[in-house]
């Protein structure tokens, strides 16, 4: 059964987490296991990508309970792409954490928590059951709650309070949406729900669910009026955790948007699509203005998560096949670049012992290679050709023009310019500006080779997309084709159950 491949992205982190809890006091062994696990995840993701290219859609009925009743794991092009990119980010994060996370924190189960987080993220990408999606969200959230307050700093506890409260609230909203949807359709399997909505006579009944899901996923993915928790919390995180959160957590929300809205609501939601478009534009604009107003490297980067989410939401809201492909392309590019930026920013923050840009300067003289490492993701985020950000922004803007949403296209261009401004600001302040003598009070930390290695992995992936955008774009196109014609997905998922009656229990 090649379908059992789909369980690997969930099992590998779980196994690593369990081993690392047993080996609590041996941080070296934990590092080894974490890297092995990250490598294993990458390998599993690669195998899944290959299997998906061969067979389009893979479905695993967990426990051999057929589709509408049991929980299914489904991998299509979208899932495979998200799995692949998230495993690369996870690998980079664990490599970076080897020397930057102290042994005290490793004793407090840092490595197991990272693995639980990855288990939740991968599970959310894979599952084909709406309630199961909620469960994976919770796995991911509880792990992220603990990771956020692990170091026990004052600012982290304060940030953790807000993060926890708002995220629990969004989970409850999501659960309410699921409950109402179940009441209306009588099923939880996503493909089956899609069928039920398709066949129902009054399509209005899904509107309440759409609003609830919009709010729930909106909080998770930090879109316009619901993003305030993100810039209030992410800048307090330690480097590798921030990279992982910035790259993955909001993107799980975005993924859920893509999955549910294309599958359930399809073309029934003109109103919500236009609402989402407006929200996306506002997200872009407010995020980038927030970033422009900050003078702290981590806060600038946190606000840029929001503005980049805006691009993805705009592309998604256009709802054409090309726009969906653009959204996926943008997501993949963004995850790699944003995680890398947080890692590089953490390297120079550690050097200066602060994240305040005013206290930094003239790093180019002492660390030209670091400057290069920063330049690759920064220019990519700003959208300078030939970097991946250029292709990503180009496709989004192109899709907007094609869908005759010129205002969105103009906003996207302007936000791109402002993004570049923020990146140039960091660059100029950190690397070029002459450093003011601020006395010996600031303590700098040595940079380890592993930190560079982690950043280089992500930088190379970005460069590969930059100079070879075509394979990824073809892949995104395939994904968009599947998303815009969900009948294939529905057929494959529900077919599994009828093909053979694997329902017989033991007696």
């Amino acid at each position: 059964m090649t379908e059992n491949l789909l369980i690997l992205p969930i099992l590998i982190p779980l196994a690593c987490a369990v081993f690392c809890i047993f080996l609590r006091n041996q941080s070296r062994v934990q590092n080894g296991i974490a890297i092995l696990g990250g490598g294993g995840l990458c390998l599993a993701a690669a195998l899944i990508v290959k299997a998906v290219i061969d067979r389009q859609i893979l479905v695993l009925d967990v426990g051999a309970w057929g589709a509408p009743w049991g929980i299914v794991l489904v991998a299509d092009y979208l899932t495979a792409a998200m799995l692949a990119v998230s495993s690369v980010v996870a690998l980079a994060s664990v490599i970076y954490a080897i020397h930057t996370i102290s042994d005290t924190e490793k004793k407090l189960y840092y490595v197991p928590l990272i693995n639980f987080l990855m288990m939740g993220v991968n599970g959310a990408f894979l599952t084909g059951d709406l309630f199961n999606l909620y469960v994976w969200f919770e796995v991911m959230l509880i792990a992220s709650f603990v990771l956020m307050i692990l170091q026990g700093k004052r600012s982290q506890l304060e940030a953790g309070f807000k993060y926890v409260t708002i995220n629990i609230f969004s989970s409850f909203i999501f659960l309410a949406g699921i409950g109402i949807l179940y009441g209306k359709t009588g099923t939880l399997n996503m493909a089956h729900i899609a069928v039920a909505i398709e066949q129902s006579e009054n399509a209005e009944f899904i509107n309440s669910t759409i609003v609830l899901l919009l709010v729930a996923f909106g909080i998770k993915s930090a879109i316009f009026p619901l993003f305030f928790w993100l810039p209030a919390s992410y800048h307090t995180l330690p480097g590798p955790v921030a990279a992982l959160f910035a790259g993955l957590l909001t993107k799980v929300g975005v993924y859920s948007f893509m999955r549910t809205f294309t599958l359930f609501f399809g073309d029934k939601v003109e109103f919500f699509a236009s609402l989402l478009l407006i929200l996306g534009i506002l997200t872009m604009v407010t995020g980038v203005f927030g970033a422009a107003s900050k003078y702290d490297s981590n806060k600038i980067l946190s606000f840029h998560i929001i503005s980049q989410i805006g691009y993805i939401v705009v592309a998604m809201a256009l709802f054409t096949e090309f726009a969906l492909a653009a959204a996926l392309f943008y997501t993949v590019h963004h995850i790699l670049v944003k995680s890398n930026l947080f890692l590089v920013a953490d390297i120079f923050n550690r050097r200066f012992g602060t994240s305040d840009l005013k206290k930094m300067g003239s790093l180019y003289k002492t660390a030209p290679f670091l400057a290069l490492l920063f330049a690759i993701p920064a220019m990519s985020l700003g959208g300078i050709p030939p970097f991946s950000g250029f292709w990503a922004k180009l496709t989004v803007i192109w899709a907007a023009v094609e869908a005759e949403q010129l205002f969105a296209a103009v906003c996207a261009v302007l936000v791109g310019i402002l993004t570049l401004y923020s990146m140039v600001k960091i660059w100029a302040e950190v690397f070029w500006k002459a450093k003011e003598d601020s006395g010996p009070s600031i303590q700098s930390q040595k940079t380890h080779l592993t930190q560079y290695v982690a950043s280089i992995i992500l930088a190379l992936s970005t460069l590969w997309i930059s100079f070879h955008p075509q394979p990824l774009f073809d892949f995104s196109n395939q994904a968009a084709k599947q998303l815009s014609e969900p009948s294939k997905y529905i057929e494959t998922v529900l077919d599994q159950s009828t093909k053979e009656d694997r329902h017989e229990t033991h007696d």
Partner: protein, 141 residues
């Protein structure tokens, strides 16, 4: 706060709760009960001990750390899914041994879902006790 009545009754209640929790876990496959309830009952036993005799005593009586229980439970739950892979079946498909009878216990029917339930039992007990102990410790400080 020491109470002689509580300390004395706890001596009897703790072992009773432990045995009851195991029984509830075992019968849980087709009847009310199961790993979650059993785990909660087990944690009640040690929580009671912690309230009456102090956290250190309860930790000592548990012998392993709550974290170890969580990890072991997850490990067992994970393992319960693996036998299906050997038979080239979907992950977590339930497999059962043939039924047999034992003198005192009656009909015994073992299979992978029971293994999974034991995993749940340990994980839940470990998590609840971890939370409880850490709250108690804060209180004592």
């Amino acid at each position: 706060m020491k109470s002689i009545i509580l300390t004395q009754t706890t001596k009897f209640l703790t072992p009773a709760f432990v045995i009851l929790s195991l029984f509830i876990t075992y019968r849980g496959h087709n009847l009310p009960g199961g790993g979650f309830i059993g785990g909660l009952m087990l944690s009640t036993a040690f929580a009671l001990l912690a309230v009456s005799d102090g956290v250190e005593k309860a930790r000592h009586a548990l012998r392993v750390s709550p974290e170890f229980l969580i990890a072991a439970g997850l490990c067992i739950a994970l393992i319960s899914g693996l036998p299906a892979l050997l038979g080239d079946d979907a992950f977590m498909k339930s497999l059962w041994l043939p039924e047999f009878s034992l003198p005192l216990l009656g009909k015994i029917h073992l299979g992978t879902p029971i293994v999974f339930d034991i995993g749940v039992f340990m994980t839940v007990a470990g998590f609840t006790l971890k939370v409880f102990f850490s709250l108690c410790r804060e209180e004592e400080n």
